[in-house]
């Protein structure tokens, strides 16, 4: 089972990202589950979302404490939320940031072995979508790192969810997929 944890703020679409992954996996005849975890229900409050993807039915409903992948939509969460908590040693941290890998390792106090997948999603989203909402852009970064789904698998789910504005979201996802740099652990 692949377990992914998303970190964002209310209104940034972290829950939508988690859902799109689950819908795409289900369309590929896999089993999947996407769940949100809210604190206060308002814009800006830190939000968690979880996606599980497996080849057999997913029955557990607990929060993901030891994710294989962590995705962080908002770089300003890094100071206040322990985003890397529980990340498996073999896992990868997918981050929206303009900073280099070395700086991220310092800020999060990561040991050299953690895999990182970094992209400046805010920049891509501002340019292609016109707003700093990075949820679909970050799907591209996630897909570069996950090894289970491809950007092609997300096209139908994104079209169904976003309708008229799907094309620019798909473009942002594809550009992030191209630009995401994966830094293996030392």
């Amino acid at each position: 089972m692949l377990e992914i944890r998303f970190h964002g703020r209310g209104g940034q679409g972290a829950v939508t990202s988690a859902e799109m992954m689950a819908v795409a996996a289900i369309q590929k005849n896999k089993y999947a589950q996407a769940m949100p975890a809210f604190g206060a229900e308002r814009r800006g409050a830190p939000v968690l979302a979880f996606t599980r993807i497996d080849d057999s039915p997913v029955e557990v409903r607990q929060e993901i404490l030891e994710p294989d992948i962590v995705v962080v939509l908002d770089p300003n969460l890094l100071g206040s939320i322990p985003v890397a908590m529980g990340l498996k040693p073999t896992g990868v941290l997918v981050l929206n940031t303009s900073k280099p890998a070395a700086a991220i390792r310092k800020i999060l106090d990561l040991d050299g072995s953690t895999r990182l997948a970094l992209v400046d999603a805010t920049k891509i989203a501002r340019e292609l979508i016109g707003r700093p909402i990075t949820n679909t852009t970050m799907l591209g970064a996630l897909l570069k790192a996950d090894g289970v789904l491809d950007p092609e698998d997300l096209v139908e789910p994104l079209k169904e969810r976003f309708g008229k504005i799907a094309p620019r979201n798909i473009e942002a996802m594809n550009r992030a997929y191209k630009e995401t740099k994966i830094t293996e652990g030392a």
Binding site: R9, G44, N76, L78, S80, T122
Partner: protein, 97 residues
């Protein structure tokens, strides 16, 4: 907050009452902002419209200068002040990470 930071049931106030007045003031919401307002002092007419329109009381009056300054501890960068400013003195600037 880890589980161990949170109070035990015996430590709660009666009826779960929160006895610290105005405790929400301590909650930093400024880190939500992806852009923040910057004022050009030459254009500012000190009319106070930015302060009136701020939905979050993130502006405060400086009694000495008569200006209406942003408190970045709270400002979430909604941009309403920039839009409402009648002299165009306020611009929104992107915040990097």
């Amino acid at each position: 907050m880890t589980q161990s930071d949170k109070p035990r049931w015996q430590e709660l106030e009666i009826g779960c009452i929160v006895t610290t007045p105005g405790s929400t003031r301590e909650y930093k919401t400024g880190d939500w902002a992806s852009s923040i307002p910057v004022t050009d002092p030459a254009k500012c007419a000190k009319c106070g419209i930015c302060w009136v329109f701020c939905p979050d009381m993130a502006r405060f009056i400086d009694q000495r200068t008569g200006t209406y300054d942003v408190n970045n501890f709270y400002c979430k960068g909604c941009g309403i002040c920039a839009r409402e400013c009648p002299t165009g003195a306020i611009t929104m600037q992107e915040v990097g990470d």
